[in-house]
Symmetry: C2
Subunit: 181 residues, 2 copies
């Protein structure tokens, strides 16, 4: 990625997340990144590709944070709920919920490149939950993974509503893990 491309994605992230994807035009992105619209199209080809790059970058950072949180856990039982703990650091001040869910809500077309990024991230999370549950010796990793995923998405959805359910959900998640050991 060229310096200009990086600035474009950074500006797009700021604007898309806080104002919505459809509501933000390419002119605004170009202006906020101090770049010409020509450069934006030379680098990305279309607005849709900028959207995909925005989500892909966010996904990369999120996964890194989750992995770091897992690594910082003492035992494997605690690690199962690490993604919930990571959510505490992840945009704690933000009241705009999950960027990926929001993108899916805004872009109904399944062919949009953003769909793959968003769906992949959630499937990855479910698989991760299942893997962690297996390592911790849980009796039914697949079922537990679905339950933890629902809690995770529920926290993000209620955050969009201005209701903070993270602490409560994390506590519930821990008890679900404990019940399977």
């Amino acid at each position: 990625m060229t310096p200009a491309a990086r600035r474009i994605v950074a500006a797009a992230e700021e604007l898309f997340y806080h104002r919505g994807i459809t509501a933000v035009g390419v002119d605004l992105i170009a202006e906020h990144s101090g770049v010409t619209k020509r450069t934006l199209y030379n680098q990305f080809g279309s607005k849709d590709q900028v959207v995909a790059a925005y989500l892909a970058g966010r996904d990369r950072r999120w996964r890194a944070l989750v992995r770091a949180t897992i690594d910082s856990c003492g035992d494997s039982l605690e690690a199962v709920t690490a993604p919930l703990v990571a959510l505490q650091d992840w945009s704690a001040a933000s009241t705009r919920g999950c960027a990926f869910l929001n993108a899916l809500a805004e872009l109904p077309d399944p062919a949009h490149p953003a769909h793959r990024v968003a769906a992949d991230q959630k499937l990855w999370l479910r698989a991760l939950f299942e893997e962690l549950a297996g390592l911790a010796g849980c009796s039914d990793p697949a079922t537990l993974a679905v339950r933890l995923l629902v809690l995770h998405e529920g926290v993000l959805a209620t955050r969009l509503l201005g209701i903070d359910t993270l602490a409560e959900s994390t506590a519930l998640a821990r008890s679900l893990v404990r019940a399977q050991t």
Copy 2:
């Protein structure tokens, strides 16, 4: 509501839910409802008001369904998870998730009339869970209500991802209720 207004809201619901609110213009709504744009503005004054009417109508129908589901429950313990059961009938075929969450995702401005409608619906649901839990004799209705709300929103969020978690979440919800009695 005049006949034309009803047709406008019906067309708006169909279009907004499946294509997104920002992506649908007033011209398209007028065309699909067989009504002039002038009539639309005479009836609603602005696109934002059409959005609010769309969500308000959906909310009314959703609450009616939930109440009916509660009434059809045999005992008060079963009634606590009635909103989850209602979700089974509610747009089961739809893969576009929750209209209210989607609206909040698309419209960041808290001053938008849609925000009140969406937030009210979720706060109503939480209060309903709490009331039902109280009637069923649960030990901690407030905590249980938050947990059930998270599960509810989690089901809707994962539905947007194409993952069906309703059965699993309903089972979990029932066990949470049982644990409090």
